[in-house]
Structures are given as structure tokens and as C-alpha cells.
């Protein structure tokens, strides 16, 4: 491995890692949005559809 290829391959993995971590964070954020929809959204339709799951997973419900 020569010095030129080493320097170009160290900057790439760093940005690739940053991108991976951001995507993991984006996944977690999507998880929180879906959780809100299932367990907390006030819409009566969502509430009634997920009613039993809200009770059983001990989310505050009505």
C-alpha cells in the first residue's frame, strides 16, 4: 500500500462512517415518528385502530 492510496482511502471511510451514523439516527427518528402515530396520535381513527395495542403496551389512552 503506497502513501497516495492510503491518504485517499482514509478520508473516504471517515465520511462513509459519518453517513452510516446519520442513517442510523434517521432510522431512530423514523422509529419515533411511527411510535407517535401508533401510540400517541390524537386522530380518533388512529386511536380506535390501535386502541387495544395502546392499552396493552401501557401507553396513556383516553
Amino acid at each position: 500500500m503506497n502513501a497516495a492510496s492510503a491518504s485517499s482511502s482514509t478520508s473516504l471511510p471517515v465520511s462513509a462512517t459519518r453517513s452510516l451514523l446519520l442513517q442510523l439516527a434517521a432510522g431512530a427518528a423514523l422509529g419515533l415518528v411511527v411510535l407517535y402515530g401508533v401510540a400517541f396520535a390524537e386522530s380518533p381513527l388512529l386511536h380506535n385502530a390501535a386502541h387495544d395495542v395502546r392499552h396493552i403496551t401501557v401507553k396513556p389512552c383516553h
Binding site: P44, H55, P60
Partner: protein, 278 residues
């Protein structure tokens, strides 16, 4: 893009866990909800106490009762019919709930892999994260706001939701501090975080949560309520146990190889760095 992989893996895990959960709930918890709803409907259909005091408005009272049908949501709103339709929507909600939790579990597992390296196997790591999930998402909020069957009155919804988020957030942060930092102070920080929601205090109802029920219904609902607290605990334990198993396997198969390959290349300063030096 690992994001797509993340979403598909979470969805695969969620279909499995959500499907099994719907079965476990039918057996453990749903019968208690259905039994409580019988009393809830009796109360909603009963004549107003004022009307029964006057004693001569029987026909009016019955007609009147229908206007009060459901205390949660208005009577006109759609709700699934008991049976297949209701179970179907419960299955959908269970899958989405498991999907949201799987995404969080994968994010924490990925962050751990990044920070601590590959020392821990996927199954062991998933088990620890699932245990933290049980403490954060079930045990800690339930200590302040216990599970309730339909028909029970409680403090205002919004206040309870805010406290629930505080309890879950504090417990999750405490688990994160314990798992991700090595300072000796982390135990103190975790203890403070775990105590925080209880220093704030969960919103509680002043008075009887079962006020307005007949003595017989009151006693029956009290018993159903206690059974429900235990049932939801078993259901949640089974949920997190299956999440640990399924998410561990999915992470090992679909996510770990990609994550590890990138993380290892980005931390070469120790190994590759020495190799680069002439």
C-alpha cells in the same frame, strides 16, 4: 445506502414479532379488555344519576343514554368491529409498534458497534438492548402510570403523555449512560436520571378511577385492573424477549457486515496508520 437495509430489516423483524405478539395478546390481555368494555358500555348506557333520582323518566333516560355512548372519541367515529376486523387492526398496530422499536434497537446496536468495536456478539448485544428497552419503555413508565383497562378514569391525557415521555426518556438515557460511558460517575448520573420522573411525579387522578360504576361493576373492574397489570407485564416481557432474539438475528445477518466493514476502515489510525508509515 444502509437506510433501506435498516428499514427492511426492521420490517421483517416487526412482522414476526408483531404477529407473535398479536397471538400472545389474544391469549393474555385482550380478554380482559373485552370483559372491561362490557362494564364500560353498561355505564355509558345507564341513565344519568340525576334522572334516576327523579324516578319517572325511565323512557327518556334510556333514549338519553345513547348520546353518551363513548367517552373516548365521539360515538360517531369509526371503530373496528369486534372479531376479525379488530384483530386485524391490532395486528397492524402491533407490527408498526414492533417496527418502531426495531429501528431504535438497530440504531443503538449500530452506535455500540461504532463506539466499542466488535467485541460483543449480535445476539448478546441485542439481548442487552432489549432488556434496556423493557426497563425504559415498560417498567419505568408503568411504575408511575400503571396499565388501565377501558372504563377507568385517569388524570388528563396530555399530562400523562408528557410524563410517559419523560419517564421513558430518562430511563433510556440512564441505560445509555451506563452502556456507553466508562466514567465512575456514570452510576450517579444514571441514578439521578432514573429518579427524575418520580421527583417530578406522575399525574394522578384525584378521586376514584372507577367512580360512577355500580358496586358489582366496581369490584369486577378492580379485579380486572389488577389482572391487566400482570398480563401487560408478561406481554411486554415476551415482546422484548422476542425483539432481542429476532433483532439480534436480523442485525447479524443484514446489518452487521455492512456496518463493521465501514467502521473498521474508518478507524485505521492504530493498525493501518502504522502500516502507512514508511
Amino acid at each position: 445506502m444502509i437506510f433501506q437495509r435498516l428499514v427492511w430489516s426492521a420490517l421483517a423483524a416487526a412482522v414476526l414479532v408483531g404477529g407473535v405478539q398479536t397471538g400472545v395478546q389474544r391469549w393474555q390481555a385482550a380478554p380482559l379488555i373485552l370483559a372491561a368494555e362490557v362494564y364500560e358500555e353498561q355505564k355509558a348506557e345507564a341513565p344519568e344519576p340525576v334522572a334516576s333520582l327523579t324516578g319517572h323518566v325511565h323512557a327518556e333516560g334510556v333514549a338519553h343514554g345513547h348520546e353518551h355512548e363513548h367517552e373516548h372519541g365521539s360515538a360517531k367515529e369509526w371503530e373496528p368491529e369486534n372479531g376479525a376486523e379488530r384483530i386485524g387492526w391490532t395486528l397492524v398496530a402491533n407490527i408498526l409498534h414492533a417496527f418502531s422499536m426495531a429501528l431504535l434497537v438497530f440504531a443503538v446496536m449500530g452506535a455500540y458497534l461504532y463506539q466499542r468495536g466488535a467485541a460483543m456478539g449480535s445476539m448478546a448485544l441485542a439481548s442487552v438492548v432489549a432488556a434496556a428497552g423493557f426497563v425504559s419503555f415498560h417498567l419505568w413508565p408503568s411504575l408511575g402510570l400503571h396499565a388501565e383497562v377501558p372504563g377507568m378514569e385517569a388524570a388528563p391525557l396530555h399530562a400523562r403523555q408528557v410524563w410517559w415521555a419523560l419517564a421513558v426518556g430518562s430511563a433510556a438515557l440512564a441505560c445509555g449512560v451506563l452502556g456507553f460511558t466508562r466514567s465512575p460517575l456514570r452510576w450517579v448520573a444514571a441514578a439521578v436520571l432514573l429518579a427524575l420522573p418520580f421527583m417530578v411525579g406522575a399525574p394522578q387522578l384525584n378521586g376514584d378511577p372507577l367512580a360512577g360504576f355500580s358496586a358489582e361493576a366496581h369490584a369486577a373492574l378492580e379485579q380486572l385492573g389488577t389482572q391487566f397489570i400482570w398480563a401487560t407485564t408478561w406481554v411486554s416481557l415476551s415482546f422484548w424477549a422476542s425483539m432481542g432474539l429476532v433483532c439480534g438475528a436480523a442485525f447479524q445477518r443484514w446489518l452487521r457486515p455492512v456496518l463493521e466493514a465501514t467502521f473498521e476502515r474508518s478507524k485505521p489510525s492504530a493498525s493501518a496508520g502504522t502500516a502507512v508509515n514508511p
